[in-house]
Symmetry: none
Subunit: 271 residues, 2 copies
Amino acid sequence: MNTAPHALASRLRIVLVGTQHPGNIGSAARAIKTMGLSRLVLVAPEKPPNAESYSLAAGADDVLAAAMTHATLAEAVADCHFVLGCTARSRRVALEELMPADAAARAVARAGQGDEVALVFGRERTGLDNDELQLCHAAVHIPANPEYSSLNLAMAVQVLAYELRLGLLGGAKGAAEGAPRPHPVTAPSVDEDPDSRTDPPATHAQLEGFFGQMAEVLDLIDFHKGRVPESAMRKLRRLFLRADLDEREVRLLRGILADVERTVRLGPKPG
Amino acid sequence: MNTAPHALASRLRIVLVGTQHPGNIGSAARAIKTMGLSRLVLVAPEKPPNAESYSLAAGADDVLAAAMTHATLAEAVADCHFVLGCTARSRRVALEELMPADAAARAVARAGQGDEVALVFGRERTGLDNDELQLCHAAVHIPANPEYSSLNLAMAVQVLAYELRLGLLGGAKGAAEGAPRPHPVTAPSVDEDPDSRTDPPATHAQLEGFFGQMAEVLDLIDFHKGRVPESAMRKLRRLFLRADLDEREVRLLRGILADVERTVRLGPKPG
């Protein structure tokens, strides 16, 4: 399906159940808006959004103002086709447990099929209760430090929203092709980054011209002092080849060498 | 290298520069502890950690209490071998720009080789300034909503810490299996070259010493000829940072610069 990220995002809702601190509702609104999401749903918050919520929402007050409130999670997800419950690691309910990236990939894929999708976050202290978890198709678990796994609620929302955004950015394509997100641990080659290098890479001949001039300058400044020049030149070649110079950089370095030659022959500029 | 995640984590520091709100320092401490990290470093915070910081740190008060404070970013990263700067998308400094997962993978790989690594976060409103970005080997960009990219500082720390944790969980395995060092830009395979890269990578302080001497030599040979020196120095910094110099290479380059200085002052060797 050829669907723009924005259209996919409109099928993804973030549901906060029984939130205790209104500030967290505002921080969650900000978190989801930074990641291009806009649908916040509240289920029986202990206190409704207040001035602190709006203050912490910062420029995401539109998301907060548009948030629907329901009395129960069942109502909040009544029209959903896919519901994910965010949990601390839990064996209470034998739900399939997904890593955030996998959960996001599935959520985006379902949205790409036109499905309504909910990501559900429980209470700050006690999470989702068993009845609520039973409404979920799968659980999502942020792999936190087992010795201190207490993510702030809005922080957990931020992490999941971030993964959803990665899914949406790759997802317009990925969902159509069913491609999984490239795994975070492998590093794609930087050469693929289109705007990291603007000038063309130096040619072999340009590099050899630079190395030739460098050898002359090393002689001129008596760098080798009787040692064979090959050792230093080999190290310098390796270093500069590794740097993958572009044409402009070779011109810059050759300009420096030319000024060294000129200054050695003519002496330093007076003053 | 057979390195446990905990040992790797101890080489990863989170640096907060010029933080305006002490509460964010506390929230950042909590965020990094939930992800199994423990090293928080502060650079010239507008206000030192206070009661609000400790309140928001929750159970991460140990991380907060252990946080070192430095006057400048240069001091905070003086012993670092790899420094990543977190930025909103920016063309001000043409640093290589990494996605969080790629940045984390590289950071963990470097830590796995015994290197000290810093992830640097700027001020809430204005981020890192250009001089600070110049100290970084690469930039990290969280791909936020372009229409509302204002992540709270601690939220950005949480996202990067989460990616570091994924890297550490995957990375401990990679390191134990002798995964090769992924080279930042070009990758001449280290295995193919018997005498390449046995020396330790240069520290930040060693590189700054080299750049300082380079600036002096450029003045001595009148390289700038009335132009502002910053442009050339920025290009040279980028080039040499990309080359990922080791200690021996820095000594070699500084030896060349010293001979240029000597020869300019004393004249070429007769004959």
